[in-house]
């Protein structure tokens, strides 16, 4: 049986994990490769690296990081953050990334999805969507959720699927950082609407939140950052608990 995936997300700036990671057993808390290795050993099913740096050397630094991660870990990983062209994706995949995620660049130029799918295949193209409710309507937001658009979340998700994306990573800006649980109502609607996997993101605070997003939110995978980084939830424990609740997970 296909299992539900648990995906830690690492924010990267200039090739280093962003401050605030609280791992006592890390030799170097800023080393994404070391952290990736630990997560892989603890039973993470996949990893996401989100590059938030904005320097000119960004591409080269990120490509080098991807190379070292691929060299070290034996589980799949996705790379996102500022990817806007076929060339960007080509470099990351050649260095060993399994998937890339695109966000604002796809909203600005939706044909990019088709171009990437034609060149690299659906299986490695994840479209990340950040959305927030405005007067009861879920609207897509850009630039890490800062800039609102008039685009409806569900219409955009459908278009993304039709253009060939292999997966949708949906982050609710209303839930992100709250630790009050995932946006399960919107997730369930999304999951019914499209026939590609949906990754839930934003709001993880407890083990029950993960269980809820798989049961009520019908999510195929759940992504979180701080609860894992601060060891508030250990992946092993999380998966044992999910298994006890009858949710299929890899242990």
């Amino acid at each position: 049986m296909l299992t539900k995936r648990i995906i830690p997300c690492l924010d990267i700036k200039n090739g280093r994990t962003v401050k605030g990671i609280n791992f006592v057993d890390l030799r170097d808390a800023g080393d994404p490769v070391e952290l990736a290795e630990i997560y892989a050993k603890e039973g993470a099913d996949e990893l996401v690296f989100l590059d938030i740096s904005a320097t000119e050397e960004k591409r080269k630094t990120l490509a080098e990081l991807v190379y070292h991660v691929a060299e070290t870990i034996n589980i799949p990983f996705t790379v996102g953050g500022g990817i806007s062209s076929v060339e960007d994706v080509d470099v990351l995949l050649k260095n060993g990334a399994d998937k890339v995620s695109i966000n604002s660049s796809a909203v600005k130029r939706p044909e990019l999805i088709n171009e990437l799918v034609a060149k690299f295949g659906s299986q490695c193209i994840v479209v990340a969507i950040d959305a927030k409710q405005i007067e009861g309507q879920w609207k897509v937001h850009l630039v890490g959720g800062k800039v609102p658009t008039e685009i409806d979340l569900f219409e955009w998700a459908k278009e993304v699927e039709e253009r060939g994306a292999g997966e949708i990573l949906f982050t609710s800006m209303d839930h992100d950082g709250t630790k009050n649980g995932f946006a399960n109502k919107a997730l369930a609607k999304l999951s019914e609407l499209v026939n590609i996997p949906v990754i839930a993101s934003g709001g993880a605070g407890t083990i029950a939140h993960f269980s809820d997003t798989f049961k009520d939110g019908k999510a195929d995978a759940a992504l979180a950052a701080s609860v894992f980084h601060f060891k508030e939830i250990e992946i092993n424990t999380l998966k044992e608990e999910l298994k006890r609740e009858g949710i299929p997970v890899r242990i």
Binding site: D98, G121, C124
Partner: protein, 193 residues
């Protein structure tokens, strides 16, 4: 041991190179027929779309070379699918090594299947020390049904072939290079053949 990964411009080859390196071996990347024929073990990767991958094989003449190889060959993901008779994806004629026709999952399930699933009914040296129902990582929209060459099964929408074998030719639908320790074990088993 000389390990050659067939390079025909399709797929995430770097991950396979690294997986082999982690096992303590070195693989070479090549599209040269003589180099491939002179290898002890051959890995035939593939990610992407079937018909364009097949075109690339034809352009390099490798479609004629691969079926004549006599040493152990391991097709991974699309590589395995191209070793079948045909694929519904892009109405592609395959290499005809495995007597199966690759078809698409129905829309009763989410397509592609992405993630970790289990392998069962394991037979062949490829799975030495690999327990039944081990988890492996897959990303695919098309699958090979069950046939006489099936050496492992998995379930998604239907029961399908997770691995195939005919003589020296092996194929796996999953990604051993991304399937954690189980995957490394399977790759090591292949290199031990």
């Amino acid at each position: 041991m000389k390990i050659v990964i067939i390079d025909y411009g399709a797929g995430n080859i770097q991950s396979i190179m690294f997986a082999i390196k982690r096992l303590g071996y070195k693989a070479i990347l090549s599209h040269d027929a003589e180099e491939i024929q002179g290898a002890d073990k051959i890995i035939f990767p593939g990610v992407g779309e079937a018909s364009s991958a097949m075109e690339k094989l034809k352009d390099t003449g490798l479609d004629k070379v691969i079926p004549t190889l006599e040493q152990p060959v391991l097709g991974i993901c699309l590589g395995m699918q191209l070793m079948c008779n045909s694929s519904e994806e892009g109405n592609t004629t395959g290499l005809g090594i495995f007597d199966l026709d690759v078809v698409r999952f129905s829309n009763k399930v989410k397509v592609p299947q992405i993630g970790w699933n289990q392998i069962s009914d394991l037979k062949s040296d490829l799975f030495t020390n690999v327990p039944e129902k081990s988890y492996i990582y897959l990303v695919h929209s098309f699958y090979a049904p069950i046939g006489k060459e099936t050496i492992a099964t998995s379930e998604y929408d239907v029961t399908y072939s997770a691995a195939l074998r005919k003589n020296n030719f092996y194929g796996v639908q999953f990604h051993p290079e991304k399937s954690s320790d189980v995957g490394s074990g399977i790759l090591q088993n292949f290199l031990n053949l």
